[in-house]
Symmetry: C2
Subunit: 387 residues, 2 copies
């Protein structure tokens, strides 16, 4: 009998920490937890979508049913993010890792310069991927600090006139985030004439932001806005006219914008799922309401860290992420035991990335308050037993 | 009240042509119909996948649950297609349209030549997409024949030493297929030293084929092997060492092969769906059994065409597709009426592509015999009323 099976046979028993629905609390860094009401709706609509007599998995990307779904997804996305008409909302494939090269391929000439702020594992990869397309340089490098924080403005060394500056708003692996004390978005002051490109994979739509501060925002959907298989790209229209090199049609932002994300068959179901999540965000009251809840959820766990001599957080306080809480016990052996015992108590995917070790609790929009409370309770109890 | 709602309120009533499950018969060219038992399983497992307590949409691509799903999908694919160990089975994103440029980008040097056999709309696009990567030329062009058939060997004019020959085994829009009289796969006799690249989007795993005849086979999953958002790529290992140019990691077959389709977060759910469809194919008895059924299914509709002076087929008989049956009535007005009345009788997505006009019935693996019978009956009845 697997541990998960044990869990379910305990339903209604004495074990405290588990979802009211009988499922595990899923702290995965991504793909991650979805709102359960969204999953329930998807269950129905893969059989029959919007009373069409055809499930969403089987609908043509040109059928009226999907037309409506795509258009509503774009409209709802605009409503959530207050995205003005001079920005395009695109759904693309290939993950954020593809955006890492699509950004310079589409926007950076071979003789032009772009600045990268390297605040984590993926920011390092992003910088590497960009190197074949132009003169890219690191305006700040967080490696010497083990990526425990993001930089202050005074620490960043800009090029004389970078076309753009690339940043990553939340660093999933290290658990750091560009934030002010209240958890809202802080941005670097970039050189005049540059525009910001932001990898927002792990915190998009978890708090308000003004898209007008950016030329491009991109995010794989699988953390806060849907499932793996689609990426959301917000791009300012004037950038679509940049053409530093010939590219296959499938790799051109302007083609994706012109064809409204349907140059070829798009990932129908992942787009549908983002649409359901957008409607869920609107029902929650939008980004302000979600941010308040996310602050409160993360505080449940950070409060345990702050009142403990047993647990150590990885991130420095001023850069602590509201989405990914990284911490460790005094030993690797206890870390392993923590992960195992948490699993038996109904909490899955708490093991940290190999780059940091320890534990990581990803508490995206869809993680219920109860999941964070259950984890905080478990942490206190574990410390009592092993501290 | 929509037509689909009318349909459902008729359930159990006098209307003859509709699925036993109460859903529409879905003749979409793709994304298209799935086996209903596969849809039912997906409904359960997006709530809780393999008793993990976590739904498949929320599982990490590195989690043990998805490890097993991915490995089983590859193994089942190898079993179905008898794919030997010196071929890789890859799951990629971006659709077959991306494969159109990935093939020459990865396999063709700027000074090398590749031959393209242009047998349809997508074959035309494929040829266009390849042009930025090398010397590509059309060894045969079906446009003057309105793509009513694929070529005989004697009609194809090869280059002196093409690196590869690109073909499309089934032309979805025109309803033609490379086939022998019994419906099995016919291949062009290519120049020695070349290898075949085949776009098998709309007939992969609908009939037996020997992958050893090909260097590369690719197919978007959304017709016969799953849902939109993932493409299946079968590639001979020796081709992975070709490196005609520098490419971003995400565009390299060798990186996808090395990282077993997980260089970054792959489209978890679309891969899962292909895995379910592969297991369904095995339960049906494999490709031989499916082929026999597909021959019989298509015959139900072609028999109506062959015994009618009312309907005209688009494809010449020797090239008629077992997957996409293209036909028209004597007038566009009757074509429109056919599509509308068929919809009211429970059959959706019968309108032909704008390139051909008329009707198209896509009868992929998952289209039940009953759907083809219902369409054939409807065609006869429509002819009686309007012929």
């Amino acid at each position: 009998m697997s541990m998960a099976q044990t869990l379910r046979t305990n339903e209604g028993g004495s074990s405290g920490a588990r979802s009211a629905s009988g499922r595990m609390y899923n702290f995965s860094a991504g793909p991650g937890v979805l709102p359960e009401e969204v999953v329930r709706q998807a269950q129905e609509e893969i059989w029959d979508c919007r009373q069409s007599g055809i499930g969403i998995l089987e609908h043509s990307h040109r059928a009226p049913t999907f037309d409506a779904i795509l258009h509503e997804a774009v409209a709802d996305c605009r409503a959530i993010g207050d995205i003005p008409s001079d920005y395009h909302v695109l759904f693309m494939t290939g993950g954020a890792t593809s955006q890492n090269f699509l950004v310079p391929a589409n926007l950076l000439g071979q003789e032009e310069t772009a600045d990268y702020i390297t605040t984590g594992y993926w920011a390092e990869r992003t910088f590497e991927h960009a190197q074949m397309f132009g003169k890219v340089r690191e305006a700040w490098d967080g490696r010497p600090l083990a990526h425990r924080r993001v930089p202050e403005d005074a620490e960043i060394s800009w090029s004389s006139s970078p076309v753009y500056v690339h940043m990553c708003s939340n660093n999933t692996i290290y658990g750091t985030q560009w934030r002010l004390a209240d958890g809202s978005l802080r941005l670097p002051k970039i050189p005049p004439g540059s525009f910001l490109v932001c990898d927002m994979c792990s915190d998009i739509f978890s708090r308000p932001f003004d898209v007008r501060d950016f030329g491009v925002v991109y995010a794989g959907a699988q953390k806060n806005v849907g499932v793996a298989g689609v990426s959301l790209v917000l791009i300012r229209d004037d950038l679509l006219s940049r053409k530093p090199r010939e590219l296959p049609l499938m790799l051109q932002y302007r083609v994706m914008a012109r064809d409204e994300s349907r140059h070829n068959t798009p990932p129908v179901f992942p787009i549908y799922m983002s649409g359901l999540v957008f409607k869920w965000i609107l029902r929650q009251g939008g980004l302000g309401a979600l941010h308040a809840r996310n602050v409160a959820k993360a505080a449940l766990i950070y409060d345990v860290l702050d009142s403990s001599t047993f647990y150590t957080g990885h991130a420095e306080r001023a850069s602590r992420s509201l989405m990914n809480v990284t911490f460790r016990t005094p030993s690797e052996k206890l870390d392993d035991l923590f992960v195992r015992e948490a699993y038996d108590a109904g909490m899955d995917n708490l093991r940290g990335h190999r780059a940091t070790g320890g534990m990581r609790a990803s508490v995206y929009n869809a993680m219920p308050d109860e999941g964070c409370k259950a984890l905080a309770d478990f942490m206190r109890e574990f410390e009592r037993r092993h501290g």
